[in-house]
Amino acid sequence: MIHIPILRAGKPYQSLEVATVPHFRSGEPVAEVSQANRGLIARDLLQMAERQQMLQALSVRELLQICRAAAKHFQEAVLPLGAGEQSPDDYIAQLSATTGMPQSLCRKNMDKIVLVLEEMEAVLGGLTRGIDVEIFDRGWIEQEGRPLSFLREADALGAILPSNSPGVHSLWLPAIPLKVPLVLKPGSQEPWTPFRIIQAFIAAGAPPEAFSFYPTDYGGAAEILLRTGRSMLFGDKNTVAPWRKDPRVQIHGPGWSKVIIADDKIGQWQDYLDVIETSAVMNGGRSCINASGVWVGSRGREVAEALGQRFARIEARGIEDPDAQIAAFTNKSLARRISAMIDSQLQIPGAEDVTARHRNSDRYVEKDGCAFLLPTVIYCEDPAHPLAHSEFLFPYLSVVEMPQEEMLPAMGSTLVATAITGDREFIRRIFASHNVERLNLGPIPTMKINWDQPHEGNLFEHLYRQRAFQMSG
């Protein structure tokens, strides 16, 4: 069986404690993964300052070159995987086998990671707002006649990673050209992507010491969050709650991303159905930037009805089918429970499953032994209804109707808002809204990422802070 080791500053370490990663359909083990005990992580992290020096010794230009080379290795090379090797096709097959994500979507996520590695200079430009990257080599630069300096806040970036979508791994990649070593805890079902990215970096010439990979339990994850000066935490509401007030931890919780069609544009609502569908369905609905809500001031039922008809056409397909749009659940019981929970909440007045009328099956279906939840549109006439504020690991949309003037505070936390409006006063209010993290003005899918516009926290600002600096003569 494939064994995925711990990487202790790049060195493989086989633990006596292993966890198996099962095939989502058969339950048969696909790989066993060495588990790091908490003390081992803590002990290793005492050495991070020395490991950071390995990255510091390289110029940013060299590191950007390494990123470009890593992109090629990640996409094309046969790379080490434990005692064996992994081809790009192996990676796609293994990733799909343990996450239930269709291979076509796995490839799209792979492309996303490759793109970020290839375009790292533009990504850094977006993160730093165009500061000359030499600042990371020299410590300061002169900009518009003024000295500018930034202080690195941490010797390592910790990341507690999810299993839901491999594309999220692109978020921590800039740490390497920013000269901050990585300490990664992979999601239990998805060790593949972070391990392969690390191997691609090492093959491209990055110092192995800059990469630590610790599959571990909750206690080990806490150790990473407590000991790396800066970290990213991916997880559900309960997982991230204890860390929300810790400024060292950048939270990546549920997205609750939304499309808003304002009163001035609702008359053309049919024009925006493609944008809404893409926002909700792309990547199988598994990303935090997938829309889970459409908020309108009027005509909500018509919008919901039209979306319900479109969603009902999306079928469950085998994970190797190139036309597959939705992922299988790795846990059938979880899929059943989610579906039952939605049905139970539909008993509360004020919400209706519009898709149910257009499908010939239940929301929960099995195909080739795999469990799926079919895309679902709920019409909510009550904006306080629990289904108006829900997000799940499948394409799910609630179409919520309420007066526009009350909408922004009522819709709650929103990672990406696509606001379709030309109403200047409403736009001004959206800009001022603390509920909205990333804003798309106009019919832009919530899933459309512009890499020079970082969303959900800026990694550069997380890792560096500006310091006052002056120099004689």
Partner: protein, 363 residues
């Protein structure tokens, strides 16, 4: 015929005879109106047989059913004091309280006896007589605090302590206050460091796995003069065992143990440095305590050697009689070995069915 195995076979049979004799003696004691405690005498009154007549050996304990830990929650605690020991000073010890109202167990001399027996298994070289100890573990109403001090005194040493409230730690974990937990851990560790640095004769240490990890981040224990570490209090797996020997405390005698308030102290199979087998196998202090590894769905069915099962714990002392209590742990049934010719358990861990409801690994 296997001539090498024969002495062990004989030892196993002798140990079993000794266990059966212990069962008979303890059943006589606990169910005799002159010596038994109110709880068991009352219990016997509700049986349709006389345990003193029907129970002739360990396998007959099944007749009494399974001890329920609920019986140990709340009072009156004197219902557990055997009449035959009336008038003697009584200690009451509590479990960690990680599963609701703490269980209480009365003690008179048992903890001293258990730790004196354990003392015989310790090396004179690495746990020297006359050496002082640091007890860096849970304090308060726990048997471990007094037991380690007794062990130290029994070996001619003086024992230093810190305060550690595992229930507060449990609350921090349950509330997800990991930063506060880290501060509390550092508070405990700093107290331990102060003691270690101030007292040159401390050569032995009791601590828990997590506190040992934290302590070793701050100090090289070998350079600080520590020769032997007695480690227990929470579960420990083979990976931790290896990590401790290879990286945390190389060159220091590392002795994993498994103990609790209800049973006493189980010792581990001696580590073979040539084989480098880090599996931890515990053996109970038979005949005072017994492990049975059973099918969790049928607690009367012992699993085969090497198979996984739930731990049933039996305690057989004059102070405390606890037949076949289903512990919150599981592990693999292990074969008798020369120094411990009775069943042991390997890879002890939280019983999988309870894993979501119990907070462990607290200190």
């Amino acid at each position: 015929m296997n001539v090498i195995a024969k002495p062990l076979t004989e030892k196993i049979a002798a140990a079993r005879r000794q266990l059966d004799a212990q069962v008979r003696e303890m059943v006589q004691w606990h169910f005799d109106p002159a010596t038994g405690c109110p709880f068991w005498l009352d219990y016997a009154g509700r049986l349709d047989f006389d345990p003193r007549k029907e129970i002739g050996g360990f396998s007959d304990l099944k007749l009494l059913g399974h001890f329920q830990d609920e019986w140990l929650r709340g009072g009156p605690v004197r219902k557990w004091v055997p009449k035959g020991l009336a008038g003697k000073p009584v200690y009451v010890f509590e479990t960690g309280g990680s599963t609701g109202v703490p269980k209480t167990r009365i003690n008179i001399n048992d903890f001293q006896t258990d730790y004196e027996l354990f003392s015989k298994t310790l090396s004179e070289k690495t746990f020297p007589k006359g050496a002082d100890w640091l007890m860096l573990g849970p304090s308060g109403p726990r048997r471990l605090r007094l037991a380690v001090e007794h062990l130290c005194q029994h070996r001619g040493g003086i024992c230093f302590f810190v305060d550690l409230d595992p229930r507060w730690v449990n609350k921090l974990i349950t509330r997800g206050e990991m930063q506060e937990l880290d501060l509390y851990k550092n508070h405990v560790i700093n107290q331990g460091l102060t003691i270690l640095r101030a007292h040159d004769n401390i050569q032995c240490l009791f601590t828990t796995p997590k506190l040992l990890e934290a302590l070793c981040e701050k100090i090289d224990l070998r350079k600080a003069g520590i020769k032997g570490i007695f480690c227990g209090g929470t579960e420990m797996n083979a990976q931790f065992h290896r990590f401790a020997r290879e990286e945390l405390v190389p060159g220091i005698d590392f002795v994993p143990t498994y103990g609790n308030t209800l049973m006493g102290l189980a010792t581990s199979k001696p580590f073979d440095s040539k084989k480098k087998d880090y599996t931890i196998t515990y053996y109970p202090p038979s005949p005072r305590a017994v492990f049975e590894i059973v099918n969790p769905d049928n607690l009367d069915e012992t699993v085969a050697y090497g198979q996984t099962g739930r731990v049933l714990l039996t305690t057989l002392t004059r102070e405390f009689f606890m037949p076949r209590f289903p512990e919150r742990d599981e592990g693999e049934r292990s074969e008798p070995i020369e120094p411990y010719p009775w069943d042991g358990v390997s890879n002890l861990r939280l019983f999988s069915a309870l894993q979501e409801s119990v907070v462990v690994g607290v200190y």
